[in-house]
Every structure is written in C-alpha cells, then in structure tokens.
Amino acid sequence: MVERQLPVRLSPLEPEYHPGSHGNFEQGVDVILSETRPGSILQLAAWPGEEKRLMSAIYKVAGLALPDGAGGGVANGVRAAFGFAPGKFTVVDEAEGLAAAFCGVVTPDVGTVTDLSHGRTAIRIAGPKAEWVLAKFFAIDFALTAFPVGAGRSTTHHDVFAQIQRSGGDQFDIYVFRSFARSFWKALCHASEEVGYEVQ
C-alpha cells in the first residue's frame, strides 16, 4: 500500500515573516503581530428567513452562541464566529475538518457552507496601539463602544476586502485573501514601525 503523505501547510507570509522585535521598540512594544493559522475558516450563508436556523446550527456544531444583531460575534480562543453580512457568518476553528462537521447539519433548505480554509489568511494584531495602527488602514470606528468584543466587520483597505473580528479588548483578527496576505502583512508591519512591534 502506498503511504499517504499529509501535505505541508505553507504560510503565504513566510518570506516576510520575521519573528522578533522591530521598528521603534526601544520605548516598548505596543503591538504584537502574528499569523494564527486556523485549521478551518468557513463561510456560512442562510437563505432569507433561515438565519435563526443557521445560527442554531453554528451553536450545535461549534458550540458558539451568536448574539442577535448585525455583525454580532463570539470568540473563545479556540473557535470564533461573527456575522459579516445579512444572513452570512464566518466560522473559524483551530482544528481542521469543521466544514465536514457542518455539512450534515446545514441542509440545503437552510443555507450553504463554503470552505475558505485555504483561501484566507488570519492575521492577529494585539496591544495598546492595535486600534491606532488599524485606523490607518480601515475607515471604521474601532472604539470599544462602537466595535465590541466578539463583533465582526466587513470593510476594505486600499479597495481590497477584509473581515475583522475583535477577539479581545485590544486584539483583532483580520481575515484577508490569501493572495493579498503578504502584501497586507508588509503594509501592516510598516504601519506598526512607529509604535514598536513584535512578530510572534
């Protein structure tokens, strides 16, 4: 029998991913940048009127109770979910195989499951200047009152689409197209230089 080899998961950021402290860090590191490399990144969409059934499917499969309301979300460190458009949700898991788990539950009369695990790159920015750095890219309100913990936003940087979830008080997870990820990463590093940043 031929031995099956698991494919090596490569990061699109690799040539530009340099762990350590960079920029103006003598006064302290004010943001920490990292690639979270989740095993599963899914897009779930409900047909009109089926949103509640899709949200209960997310609870059943991922154990995440989504709050009502546009852009509502939840993150527990292992899994995360948030609304990014009417009736549409991003669901993320550290582990692979989440799409298969949803397939039997999100039936064709409820909506659709699209596996984007290889199509998106997840970049985390954390620290006291995270809002400051992100505000250079995205024309949205990052204040905690306007953008609460767990919530998600769909927006653009330089006309390129991105999804952002606030996964902590001063921590954001940004989902960008894999093919644009290295470009965005380099820009994010440049924008973080003035505050001092560490790549983990």
Binding site: A70, P86, G87, T155
Partner: protein, 98 residues
Amino acid sequence: MLITCPYCGPRDVIEFTYQGDGNRERPQPASQDIDAWNAYVYDRLNPAGDHNEIWQHSGGCRAHVRVVRNTLTHDISSTAFAHGGHKSAARHRTEAKS
C-alpha cells in the same frame, strides 16, 4: 460622504458602488413593450433635490441599499435594504426626514 448601510452602519462612500437610478422599473425580460423599455433605459427624473438611488455596499457586506440622496447637498435622508429578504438583519436604519 457617509452612507449608513442598514447592516454595517455609517461607512465612507469609497466602500460603495453606485447601481443607478432607483426610480426605474425594469420590464419583464420577455416584454415587447417598446415604450416601457425606452423609459427604463432613457427616462430619468434628474431632480435638483431628493433622488432615489440604488447603491451596493461592495466594499463591505455587499448588500444592495436603497438610498435617498439630495443631489444639491449630498444629504442622505434615508437608507434601507433594497431587497426584503434579510430585513431582520437591519440594525442601522435611517428614516426619511418628515
């Protein structure tokens, strides 16, 4: 100019794509009513004031949004989903001024 998306809230106009005059009524595809097609393609109210428009939040949630914009001042007096299906998702509703 800020447009309040019913889903995302106020966003810069750069995130939106103009989809045209919101007053038009497209005839059925099989229609052979020449006058109706002519009106759909060419007739515009071109008001100096409030104007019904369709915008897409293409750089955000991608919803189509029905917008009333004043062509003289750029004031936007109301926005709502152009399609009814996901009405329950609306959080940021602006109402027409009375």
